[in-house]
Symmetry: C2
Subunit: 425 residues, 2 copies
């Protein structure tokens, strides 16, 4: 790994604490990923990205800043990256997937807050995430009680713009979301000094659509009877999608898909025949949260689909590319983003339809509904989701977990029993 200490230092990071993270991450990645057999060769790129996750991309972002570009940090799949890129700025995900950051968040947030939020706030306040240090502005949203209030605390530290996501999906709500996007446009234009034009927005809509198409192609490969890529590998790709340069990510992912499609033709599988196929649904799995995939895939099953923000919600449905004015383009953005079925909406029956559709498309043997502890939205919705799946004759198991390893053995036992129970192909 290259030496990024000087860069981290200049970012004002807490190097000593950050070193602890740098020490454990390679081991964790090795255990979960590099131990796999018969991985696609094109995974090398993603291995490299993870190995240098706090180095190579941050370096690029800093270089862009030196050239006058602004960097916007985002937390949620509802924030339209298109607008940011259209203003010649860069959107990036932020840290939030490790227990390492949780205690820092608990200094200001209640323990009864979901680990994703606690880790995000902790990563920022403890100065152990370069992305949080680099971002010139954060774009928050009102998708859940915890995040909505956490922005108030984060906002004391750095500029935060919060988008008010409607809680329903009536026609007027989609219009209201278009209004929020327009307001974001203004904020971005003022902050960057760059105008968003129909041309630049059209370009960035295509840029992000192409990323969606690449991810869609990757997921399409996972539908094959002989699964050409593990769930772990697909997950880490989904996670990297939030950070990487979109054009390069698209290119590398398409390259991987070439290999995967060849594998399908050749009948190459990463798992032995009869391995149970699992769909995961629920709360997002931010990098480096690989816990569940790892347990499932070392318990005799393979994850073939994630109905998650780090999964299908991120890439399904494209933005209409045919619009020619900014107003129409913004309406198209609002339409696409309001099509995402997050539990923050009421009602959210579309998500149940999605899960049942995906379960069929990916020919899954069972669904695991995973909830990050203290996420009320997905927790309450789990009741109707699991009932609907049972009614549809799809085996389902609900799991609640956090970022610690305390429940790993218990999860392994429960998941093992579930996999054994569900019908053999």
């Amino acid at each position: 790994m290259a030496d990024y200490r000087k860069m981290w230092e200049s970012l004002g990071m807490d190097l000593e604490t950050h070193d602890q993270l740098c020490e454990v991450l390679p081991q964790a990645f090795g255990d979960v990923f590099l131990s796999q057999e018969n991985r696609p060769e094109a995974m090398d790129y993603y291995n490299f990205v993870i190995a240098e996750i706090h180095g190579v991309r941050p370096q690029e972002l800093i270089k862009a800043q030196e050239e006058g570009k602004k960097v916007f940090g985002t937390f949620c799949v509802y924030v339209p990256d298109e607008l940011i890129f259209a203003a010649n700025a860069i959107a990036t995900g932020l840290c939030g997937g490790s227990q390492f950051w949780v205690p820092g968040g608990e200094k200001v947030l209640p323990t009864n807050t979901c680990p994703l939020i606690k880790a995000s706030v902790g990563a920022r306040l403890d100065r152990t995430c370069p992305f949080f240090r680099i971002a010139d502005m954060y774009i928050g949203e009102t998708t859940c009680d915890g995040k909505k209030k956490a922005w108030e605390i984060l906002g004391e530290d750095v500029p935060v713009h919060v988008m008010d996501l409607p809680q329903m999906k009536r026609e007027k709500d989609i219009k209201a979301w278009a209004e929020e996007i327009k307001e974001l446009k203004k904020v971005i234009e003022e902050f960057t000094g760059n105008k968003v034009t129909a041309e630049s927005l059209n370009e960035s809509i295509k840029l992000i659509n192409n990323k969606r198409k690449a991810l869609s192609r990757l997921y399409e490969c996972r539908k094959a009877d002989k699964v050409p890529i593990s769930g772990r590998d697909a997950l880490v790709i989904s996670q990297i999608a939030f950070y990487d340069d979109p054009a390069r990510f698209t290119q590398m992912t398409n390259k991987l898909c070439d290999e995967l499609e060849q594998r399908i033709k050749d009948g190459v599988s990463v798992v032995k025949e009869g391995t149970k196929r699992i769909l995961l649904t629920g709360t997002p799995l931010a990098v480096p949260n690989w816990k569940l995939h790892n347990i499932i895939e070392t318990s005799g099953a393979v994850v073939v689909c994630e109905e998650m923000c780090t999964g299908t919600r991120y890439f399904e449905n494209l933005v209409d590319e045919t619009k020619t004015t900014v107003d129409e383009q913004i309406d198209a953005l609002a339409n696409r983003y309001m099509g995402i079925n997050c539990a923050c909406f009421t009602p959210n029956t579309g998500r149940i339809d999605d899960i049942i559709r995906l379960a069929k498309e990916y020919k899954v043997d069972g669904v695991i509904d995973v909830n990050l502890k203290f996420c009320s939205l997905y927790d309450v919705e789990g009741y109707t989701v699991e009932r609907a799946l049972k009614e549809a004759g799809i085996p389902v198991m609900g799991i609640e977990t956090d970022y610690t390893d305390n429940d790993a053995e218990q999860l392994r036992t429960r998941i093992g029993a579930f996999i054994e129970m569900i019908g053999t192909k």
Copy 2:
């Protein structure tokens, strides 16, 4: 107590389970309320209401239904009762303040849900609350993740209309709330078959404003150096305000205020001189949740104000009575209701201003910030609230609790120490 069993039976209630509640409530009320010395005589009315809480008002509601009126059940101070009464219908609060109902809610909701929501859903599903049985329709709102999702489960059982409360307070949000109120008007008009007119709405605006004025007058009395009424008694009055006939409630509360104002003139206090004055802030205390007031007032202090939904948020600020068209009246309603400072808004700095203002007006010695367990909104906001109070030199203690008695002794110890610690007058 009159015999209401026949009525409860005809409501389809679970009599056997409900009997258990009926057995314990009088004892609890006696312990907390009737044991107080020197209570105002006019408290007799509220004693009667509580003694017959599942009888006398439900009987009135059923009678009104027989006469063709509709009853709407509500959960939140943002729902404008004015519209309901203007359509010749009745608004009523619903059950949700006792641990008795919590296990019923936990059958369908996560344990990590606030007790208020669990109790409400449990009271409905277990058929042990007459108000839930009587209401023809529930009006929900999107004030928090837990409630927002709970309506989906409740809605399977009975008609629910959900109002989408904006999460911010910009000009467009107040307009959006006016739109939601207009939509509610349509729903109510269709459901009742009655038209809301400028005249009927003007009348009901005055009706509810008068209730606010009576409560305001009651609270004004609590500012006196010699406190004429205990916090417990004031709390139960605030709680009854959600259920009672508004005109009668106003009349009875004004009658009580006559007595209290006379007490102030006569220098009559319910507590001995030097008793520490406490302001409570935080999550609502639904009937029969009297736990904290009881602990505080049997630990050498008196509660003189509640910055709560069962408190100042319910009655502060009147609706403008001078508007002459329904559209203008609805704007006036939107303005008044959007003035309430609930933690569901971001930012919500107005609440901090309120607390500091109230702390001065009520000359309090300290503030107790109470959070119902698993309420993320007030829990996160507690961090900034408590910091602001400390900066303002106002002693503050944060407490998290639920409806069980498990923490009563611990709370008594902590509250006792806090009361001892804060400055003697």
